[in-house]
């Protein structure tokens, strides 16, 4: 596989997963930026396990998922039903705290970072295929679970909480438990992503996990559409890939282009490009059921 294609596909997969990790809590109105801190915490932990304790990668990855989920769960005990602003503040605080802790831990490289993560599978080529396979299996699994969530009574409850939390509560939705569920799953995804992100680069540096990532994921969600998981699937490859196609002179303006795209979308199409209605139209079109439905409607009339 051509090397640029590998990096493009693998980083796109991480961007999709991490955007979903933000999308999921946003279903109940939470902007849960703690996910970026979780990436760093799980990533560095897995790196330490592999490099220093010689733990096999698979176990280290599992630890990354579990650690992410555990942190997400513990934090969600306190902010499972907190207002959006409080969740944002907790997320930012966690990013600062995790950075400070990592900076001061020389055992994981401190400010220098962590070098020389090994090839999984023994060779660079095997490493790339394994990382890609894990990432896209992860994308499929997470995508399936989110799809099931969105189409379940939990998903409908989340939509109700998003629109009016008090009304949802009066209808019997347990906001806290729902918030805890989505936050924990979101942090679990982020934990795994953090591990894989470092193994793509074969190194960890604190500046891999900055607020710039929050900006990228937010742009993906809001340009793609925050009301359906498919917006992320469409926006992540385009927003990451298109700037790579542009001439260098235009590339210099890519942050401005991102910003302009975000503003335009928020003003002209606040739900983003992919709305549930659009997704339903595509589903209908692809399944070919439109014709059948029209036929049956004629029969009814």
């Amino acid at each position: 596989m051509p090397l640029p294609l590998y990096y493009y596909l693998s980083i796109t997969a991480v961007n999709i997963l991490m955007s979903w990790a933000l999308y999921l809590p946003y279903r109940v109105g939470h902007l849960h930026f703690i996910t970026v801190a979780n990436m760093a915490i799980s990533g560095y932990t897995a790196g330490f396990l592999v490099l220093n304790l010689h733990v096999p990668f698979g176990w280290a990855l599992l630890c990354g998922f579990l650690l992410g989920g555990l942190i997400g769960f513990v934090v969600s005990l306190f902010i499972g039903d907190a207002p959006t602003f409080a969740v944002v503040i907790v997320g930012f605080t966690f990013i600062f705290i995790s950075r400070t802790i990592i900076e001061n831990l020389s055992i994981i490289g401190g400010t220098m970072g962590m070098f020389g993560l090994p090839n999984i599978g023994g060779s660079p080529s095997a490493h790339r295929w394994i990382v890609l396979a894990i990432l896209y299996a992860f994308v499929l699994a997470a995508g399936f679970l989110i799809y099931r969530f969105d189409h379940s009574c939990l998903g409908r409850a989340a939509s109700a909480v998003f629109v009016d939390p008090d009304l949802a509560a009066s209808l019997g939705v347990n906001r806290k438990k729902l918030g805890m569920l989505v936050q924990t799953v979101s942090c679990t995804i982020a934990g795994g992503c953090g591990v894989l992100y470092g193994f793509i680069y074969k190194s960890f540096h604190l500046d891999f996990f900055t607020f710039a990532l929050v900006g990228i994921f937010m742009t993906v969600i809001f340009v793609g559409g925050y009301t359906t998981q498919w917006g992320t699937v469409v926006a992540a490859p385009i927003l990451y890939g298109v700037p790579l196609l542009l001439p260098p002179v235009v590339q210099s303006w890519r942050i401005v282009l991102y910003g302009a795209a975000l503003i335009l979308v928020l003003v002209l199409k606040p739900e983003g490009f992919m709305t549930p209605r659009f997704v339903r139209s595509v589903e209908t079109f692809l399944s070919g059921s439109r014709r059948r439905r029209n036929t049956s409607l004629k029969e009814v009339s």
């Binding site: 051509p2 640029p4 493009y8 400010t111 220098m112 500046d207």
Partner: protein, 386 residues
């Protein structure tokens, strides 16, 4: 039909991304430079690029490399590891040698790709501690931090027998805490007492409390290991609080950037600063460089790092000519290795400032200098040779 169109679109997309076969240009040497041309440190990227392009301009004026012109191709990484890794993955396909990446987060994401593919990429702005992780596919521009900085800062300390207690302002970024440790060892070796360091947060916006924290320890001397703008602001705060012994303040090399002089203004007059280049050098080559820089930069003097990639391009020229590298794509891997081997042990390289040798990728005899700042100019105080 739709599937065919989709496949065609994907193929076009992939080709445009550079995933397909790239065209090999044999009529000129192309040296890609993975640099931060946009983003928070784009100003640094600009003068690094300027230095490299200046070298290419001079080389072409003098007939090119082995008779062929050379072109430095700026590749923007935008300070982003995601972009840097894809760009490096593109380059390793057919580039003979590269410059950069800049800075450390992109180095860590992208250099493993160069190493895996056996391509020399010269990281001329980072410390040995980063560069050596990627040997032999890069070289270090700087000698070992602990060994060199200890000696250098001890020489500064020995100028002032009255200076007994020293505190450091340290920003936790990349190799800087390690540099601060090296300062501490050197100063302790010179009989000075190191006070607990004052950490300067990367996102600090107010510097008064940090200055107070340092002054509360009653230091006689202060070493600054943080970015240029922060050093300027800290010195202002110290002066506002009555600090008078300006030469008892030492600024480390990474803060020798235009922001220090712009932010500090007259308040940094008298402060001492160490670096690896001497702007007061009077040679035709350096004077031409200075004049050209001033012409392109509204009369400003070249910043200290502006010569690094200038020298790197000349070093590549020397390697190509000395090893007889042809640029033939069929010999790419062999010729990359030849260049890497040559650069790791180049002898008597004629840099713009001085001649130096490399041993196993590490410079062995680069001098270091301590200057006193006066009206944004640096007046030589000491030259410290290994």
């Amino acid at each position: 039909m739709k599937r065919v169109l989709s496949a065609l679109f994907l193929a076009a997309f992939a080709t445009a991304l550079g995933f397909g076969q790239a065209k090999v240009v044999a009529t000129e040497w192309q040296i890609p430079f993975l640099n931060c041309l946009t983003g928070a440190i784009a100003n640094i990227g600009e003068y690094l690029e300027w230095g490299a392009e200046r070298a290419a301009f001079e080389i072409n004026q003098a007939g090119g490399i082995a008779g062929k012109p050379v072109k430095v191709v700026g590749v923007d990484t935008a300070l982003d590891p995601q972009k840097g890794s894809v760009e490096m993955a593109r380059l390793v396909k057919d580039s003979l040698v590269a410059l950069g990446p800049v800075p450390e987060p992109v180095i860590m994401a992208a250099m493993p790709i160069a190493v895996e593919n056996g391509m020399m990429s010269i990281t001329a702005t980072t410390s040995l501690e980063y560069a050596q992780k990627f040997f032999p596919w890069t070289v270090s521009w700087f000698p070992p931090t602990e060994e060199r900085l200890g000696m250098l800062v001890a020489a500064w300390g020995k100028q002032f027998p009255d200076m007994k207690n020293i505190v450091q302002f340290v920003e936790p970024y990349g190799p800087w805490p390690g540099m601060a440790d090296a300062h501490a060892k050197g100063l302790e070796g010179a009989g000075k007492r190191m006070l607990p360091k004052v950490e300067v947060p990367t996102d600090a916006v107010t510097f008064g409390p940090l200055a107070v924290k340092a002054l509360n320890q009653k230091p006689d001397g202060i070493v600054f290991v943080c970015n240029a703008e922060k050093v300027g602001k800290l010195i202002k705060e110290l002066k506002n609080r009555g600090w008078k012994r300006m030469d008892h303040l030492l600024v480390f090399s990474s803060a020798d950037a235009p922001e220090l002089y712009a932010t500090g203004g007259a308040d940094v007059n008298g402060v001492e600063i160490y670096n690896y280049i001497d702007p007061n050098l009077n040679t035709p080559r350096w004077n031409a460089f200075k004049d050209a820089y001033a012409k392109d930069h509204a009369g400003n003097l070249p910043p200290s790092l502006s010569t690094n990639y200038y020298d790197a391009v000349y070093m590549v020229k020397q390697a190509i000519e000395a090893t007889g590298v042809t640029g033939d794509p069929a010999k790419l891997m062999d010729e990359r290795k030849k260049i890497a081997d040559y650069l790791a042990n180049v002898k008597s390289f004629h840099g713009i400032m001085f001649n130096w040798d490399m041993k196993d990728g590490i410079p062995t005899n680069k001098p270091t200098f301590i200057f006193k700042i006066q009206d944004a100019k640096k007046i030589m105080v000491l030259e410290v040779k290994p």
